[in-house]
Symmetry: C2
């Protein structure tokens, strides 16, 4: 196990009607809020009106930034920063899924930065101060509600990049599973794949002796496997929605990473797909994951797949190592199929045309991606082709 410094300061108000904690929590930080959200879904479920009423009843003034995109764009970040500067905002409140929260984070970090906000995406070390951020979550997926990162897209340059800062952890997040009852089947599936991918990125890892982290990772993977389909078939199943929601936060808030040396693989590969084709992030991850697993399976990595096979998929431990590994990878693919997620890039409109360009882009910052088995541009291209 590696040394680590643990700090997860975000307060979570979890459960039905926890929205009532909102005014008191906001007032710890001020009375002027930027209300950031995406499209009409929060209006459709009545959440927008509820938030507005709570703010008005408690003399909290607010300014709105709406229309934040599913892969949130730097143009939205810039708009948000302008509103905050003009109105001396105390706290950015994101109401929505991970995209909205990510956008809110970079707005909060960009207010005090003098140059263009894209700079602090390209180079997180330029972030000097961050105003308080809070979230009301409506989609179980990215874990942005309890972590310190954000991913922003620049359409002009075809770039989708992650940034982060410890101060970007929300001060508090309200997680009411009933706000996810209206999430459609395909987004529920993509969100579940996203949560699982966050776990895979740190579970398939070479750090020795991180036993407790590995067992916890398996416990959250099992949660996703147990409830993913249920939440699609019974969208108002509180048990399924609540387990997935808490899984989304725990998968990426640091708990599974502390003590490991991690370096993600599938996310950076997928970010290129989303940047070039604007596809749903979780779908891209689900398509790439089994192809990536098959590609990295070798004598150095097979034991980790055996662990996965036995502890997550309950496969028969007496079988031969490679058989177990391959069976576990098939189980993974079959699980994503059971969630009705497309299994090939072609199904989401991606053909051979830009694969090489995207593969080169994926490694442009570091020469390789991932540390479970480091991948260069050629490896990434092979995985893209295998997923075609």
């Amino acid at each position: 196990m590696k040394n680590f410094n643990y700090s997860i300061p975000t307060k979570i108000f979890f459960g039905k009607d926890q929205i009532n904690a909102l005014p008191d929590q906001i007032k710890k930080y001020g009375t002027k809020v930027l209300l950031a959200y995406g499209g009409g879904s929060i209006k459709k479920i009545g959440l927008y009106n509820k938030v507005i009423k709570l703010l008005k009843d408690n003399d909290i003034s607010f300014f709105e930034l709406s229309g934040i995109e599913p892969n949130p764009r730097i143009t939205s970040v810039r708009k948000g920063i302008d509103i905050c500067r003009e109105n001396n905002i105390d706290l950015v409140l994101a109401v929505g899924g991970g995209s909205t929260i990510d956008c809110a984070k970079v707005i909060a970090a960009g207010i005090s930065y003098e140059g263009d906000a894209w700079d602090i995406v390209l180079d997180p070390s330029k972030i000097k101060s961050v105003i308080p951020i809070a979230s009301i979550l409506t989609l179980s997926a990215t874990g942005s509600e309890m972590d310190t990162g954000a991913v922003i897209t620049n359409i002009e340059t075809n770039e989708k990049l992650g940034t982060g800062n410890p101060e970007m952890a929300p001060k508090f997040s309200i997680l009411d599973p009933t706000y996810t009852f209206s999430v459609p089947k395909n987004q529920t599936a993509a969100g579940t794949a996203d949560i699982m991918s966050h776990i895979f990125e740190v579970y398939f890892n070479n750090t020795e002796g991180a036993y407790i982290q590995n067992r916890m990772a398996e416990s959250i993977l099992k949660t996703c496997i147990n409830y993913g389909r249920i939440a699609m078939d019974e969208p108002e199943n509180y048990e399924a929605r609540s387990n997935l929601m808490w899984a989304s936060s725990l998968a990426i808030n640091g708990l599974l990473t502390y003590g490991k040396e991690t370096n993600w693989s599938v996310h950076p590969m997928e970010h290129e797909l989303s940047a070039y084709y604007d596809i749903t992030h979780g779908v891209g991850l689900a398509i790439l994951t089994p192809a990536w697993m098959e590609y990295v399976l070798d004598d150095n990595t097979v034991d980790k797949f055996v662990e996965y096979a036995i502890n997550v998929w309950d496969l028969d431990r007496s079988k031969e190592k490679y058989d177990l590994a391959k069976e576990a990878i098939n189980k993974t693919r079959e699980f994503f199929i059971s969630l009705d997620i497309p299994t090939t890039l072609r199904e989401v409109g991606i053909n051979e045309e830009k694969l090489e360009e995207m593969a080169n882009q994926s490694v442009r910052i570091r020469k390789t991606i991932g540390n479970f088995k480091p991948l260069n541009a050629e490896d990434v291209l092979n995985i893209y082709k295998a997923a075609l």
Copy 2:
């Protein structure tokens, strides 16, 4: 899953040589420290000198409270409070195991309380303010390094009682597994049993739909089972010591409890044993746990034991329910035996004499203890007798 408000603010500096973080962290809160510790063990391993040097080199003044007992006594708390009041202490730094940290917590909470410190043990609602607390952990067991509770003994009244307050969570804790290398076999065993008991107290529970919490609980139980004996046989095995140390914190920091309605059973029964006979807490827990499990096993609880049998002990799921449950309980008992822990009360010098008095004492505050299967005085007496 129940609603919950999650807040785990303690920062953890985990790993070898993390002690170097001490001066900067203390200075966030002031420059006058009460250094609280137990016997000579921190001197024997050189930790005392290291702490003293770091404090002196960084112009942090300190006053000492030594001799804190294994079941920390209210008399030590009173002494600590006096020193803090006389010297206007900014932070209480506990260096030791759970007993030392518990004592430090009640000192920090008692400074501003005008009456006798035993009052705030009897009635935690009397705690109004708590000065900052920090810890350097030397024993993996109680989890006090990352939680909000403390257990204090009053020898005059034969009482051992828990108290707590959100502000009693340490501001930071330094967890260096090498400080536990010198922990003797019997204390390593008792600590492991204590960690497992904290998990059992919340795992054997009737809250519906807390799937993710149950799987995480199993993952930490597996960690204890995997490393308990190894740490005894190879005291300087860093992997074993680090996994047990992190397990001790995660077992009780709230992670496994949030979303559940919990009410402990075995701890309140054991507290009477420790209060009357001053036995090692973890040994008392290990003796009582299998007897308690057998006593509460019935048609309402058997499914939970089946879950435990399959997910923790990998038992054959095709077997009959009660067979699985009983086999899992036997596995639990055998595990404690494999750690060389006594299995009966007689072995630790407890006979029939005071069983009834202790049973009555255990339920004097609430009429019953536990909510998995509520126990009255007669039930407790039966469990004591079964463990005799």
